[in-house]
């Protein structure tokens, strides 16, 4: 009765960007494990390196980036050492990506049929009918009305919500084991956002996908994640099951983030929201100590001196000098 082998096992991922004004260490010693059927949310603010993690998983990092990992195991197979060409056999097949902006991710001069079947033919043997069937099956699950006609349309002809569903379908054309979604619903309207997430979550359950959802939206995370990893300045500062992280956040950054979110019914007009003072440190050069120390309300001298130790409470891990499991929920949580 051991836990199922993870679909992704990533250890000690480091990404460095060689820029004219210095070397940025944008991802620093990051570990990630995702099981089949599991939704892992990678949360953080802009510049925390979460998109860099997503791009390294797809090996789509910009040219100035260099990455290393002790372990990059996909479905039991070490793929970190594969050449770009060999890895491209897996990309779109075993691991695929849903991008944030469905307008720029699609080729504007090709129909959806051409773009969806291109992924299929790249990795599968089969004729047009097989590709169409697969596409129509997915679009039906995603609630796309008049799917057959939509396939002959171009990206500009669909609304943002439908375009994003096309993108989800494209990512699933070859039944991947792992899907990386980078802010998949940020560009959508609020009512469409909830709808799209529900469709994605249903398909994920049906197809038993491992899903890594990269987002800055804590509300969304609290509704959809199985596990949550909170990133700050290139490092994971806290990771654990959804309820553990939201009900007993142990890292001050996680607590601060949760308190920033306005909650209907909790505030009266004119109330001030919680804030996190200061800004993210630049990641040029080596930083010793806790990277959050300069903004942390509880920072002490030890925080600046050395990297804080990792504490564990079951599967709930966090890096902070504070080793106590907080018993108090953050202020913004409505306790009823």
């Amino acid at each position: 009765m051991s836990a199922p082998a993870p679909v992704l096992d990533l250890r000690n991922l480091n990404v460095r960007l060689n820029l004219p004004n210095g070397r940025l260490h944008v991802v620093d010693g990051l570990d990630l494990q995702v099981a089949r059927g599991e939704t892992l949310c990678l949360v953080g603010e802009s510049g925390c390196g979460k998109s860099m993690v997503a791009l390294s998983l797809m090996r789509l990092l910009p040219k100035v980036a260099r990455w290393t990992a002790d372990r990059f195991v996909l479905e039991g197979r070490e793929v970190g050492g594969l050449s770009e060409r060999a890895f491209s056999e897996l990309a779109g097949d075993r691991i695929s990506m849903i991008f944030q902006d469905p307008m720029t991710a699609f080729n504007p001069v090709l129909t959806f049929r051409e773009q969806l079947s291109e992924v299929f033919f790249r990795h599968r043997k089969g004729n047009r009918r097989a590709a169409d069937e697969k596409a129509l099956f997915l679009l039906d699950r995603l609630g796309v009305p008049a799917a057959r006609d939509r396939l002959d349309q171009y990206p500009h002809q669909l609304s943002g919500g439908l375009r994003q569903r096309m993108m989800i379908a494209m990512a699933l054309m070859c039944d991947p084991a792992l899907v990386v979604a980078d802010e998949p619903t940020t560009a959508l309207d609020v009512t469409i956002q909830a709808q799209t997430l529900r469709l994605l979550a249903n398909l994920q359950r049906e197809l038993d996908l491992g899903l890594i959802l990269v987002t800055h939206d804590l509300g969304l995370v609290s509704r959809i994640a199985d596990r949550v990893a909170v990133m700050y300045a290139g490092q994971i500062v806290e990771v654990g099951a959804r309820t553990a992280v939201f009900e007993r956040p142990c890292h001050p950054y996680t607590k601060g983030l949760i308190d920033c979110v306005p909650v209907p019914g909790r505030f009266r007009r004119g109330d001030r929201l919680g804030t996190i003072e200061g800004s993210v440190p630049t990641m040029v050069g080596g930083l010793t100590g806790c990277r959050f120390a300069s903004r942390c309300p509880q920072a002490a001298d030890v925080c600046v001196a050395a990297r804080p130790p990792e504490h564990r409470d079951g599967s709930h891990h966090w890096r902070c000098v504070n080793d106590e499991v907080s018993s108090k929920a953050p202020a913004s949580r409505v306790l009823s």
Binding site: A194, V221, R269
Partner: protein, 328 residues
């Protein structure tokens, strides 16, 4: 003498439509009705929120308020005077904008000092020295240190850029600042800072704000009055508290149900609103919301509901307005 009872700006039955190029040379151009028969009054020193999703006309409304576009029909009253009779330049100084994307709304080749000073120069307010002083003063108001004076926008963070944009809007001492999605391009922690700043400025300077947003949670803490828009029309408007306590229009209920607050036990929200946003060029018949409305009934797809008073706010929905019309 300003009369306190007259609203600062009043829109009466304002519509704005755009002609679209049609497919054929001989077809009549189609009309996109961005804003239809909208009435709204903005009181001095108030915070008014306009909520809606993309394509609902909220940005067109912002442009009308800013005087950047003229309505196709209807009238705008500035302190009771038709806008045609007021001086356009003076109006521009009284109503200032803050846009969504702080990076692209600041000129990258100008320093912060030049950016914030520009409206003062353009409106010819004060002398050279007093303008320099005013720039420092408003930067202090938005909590920016003096050292950013000579920085360029690219050297600042998104939140700092938005502060510069707010400082620029404040510089000429406007009576109204129209913020079009001022925080939707920002991180949550930065968003909280900017919203707190807007509340501080509102208390300290008494300037009125119009806040355009798609986020109901943001609106609740900020606005005294809220207007919810759908496809160019106001569907519900009234005191924010009342609308949040008991939203009447099914669309308002849908927007509220779609807010995802951090709650690990809630799961994805049950959708009170289904379906996709219709094409604004050919809006549905009757009530434009009826194809997505869970409560649609007989008259909804034929008759367009009118905005009527009920329970301390105005609603345009057959479910509610019928009753009031009968009872009046």
């Amino acid at each position: 003498m300003t009369d306190r009872t007259v609203p600062l700006i009043e829109l009466r039955d304002v519509s704005k439509s755009f002609a679209l190029r049609s497919g054929s040379l001989f077809e009549a151009p189609r009309q996109l009705h961005a804003v239809s028969n909208l009435s709204l009054s903005i009181e001095r020193g108030s915070i008014t929120a306009i909520v809606g999703e993309s394509g609902c006309g909220k940005s067109t409304l912002a442009k009308i308020l800013l005087g950047l576009t003229d309505p196709s029909s209807g009238s705008i009253l500035v302190e009771g005077e038709p806008i045609e009779r007021t001086d356009r330049r003076a109006y521009a100084a009284r109503v200032q904008p803050v846009f969504q994307d702080p990076i692209s709304s600041l000129n990258p080749k100008k320093t912060v000092e030049q950016i914030v000073r520009f409206p003062l120069d353009a409106h010819g307010i004060g002398t050279g020295r007093s303008r320099t002083e005013r720039v420092r003063e408003v930067l202090k108001l938005v909590d920016l240190p003096d050292r950013v004076l000579h920085a360029y926008p690219s050297q600042l963070s998104g939140g700092q850029c938005q502060r510069v944009a707010i400082a620029r809007a404040l510089a000429v001492g406007p009576e109204l600042i129209v913020c079009d999605e001022p925080t939707s391009a920002l991180d949550v922690s930065v968003q909280a800072n900017i919203l707190n700043l807007i509340l501080d400025l509102w208390e300290r300077t008494g300037v009125a704000f119009v806040l355009i947003s798609h986020d109901m949670a943001v609106v609740e803490i900020m606005a005294e009055r809220t207007a919810v828009m759908y496809l160019g029309r106001v569907v519900e408007t009234g005191p924010t508290e009342r609308i949040f306590k008991s939203p009447l229009h099914p669309y308002t209920q849908g927007l509220l149900s779609a807010v995802m607050t951090p709650d690990p036990n809630a799961g994805l929200p049950e959708l009170a609103v289904d379906g996709l946003t219709p094409d604004p060029i050919s809006p549905p018949s009757g009530c434009a919301f009826h194809p997505r409305c869970p409560k649609a009934f007989a008259p909804c797809d034929v008759e367009r509901p009118i905005l009527g008073e009920t329970q301390g706010r105005s609603v345009s929905c057959h479910l509610h307005v019928r009753e009031t019309e009968a009872s009046v």
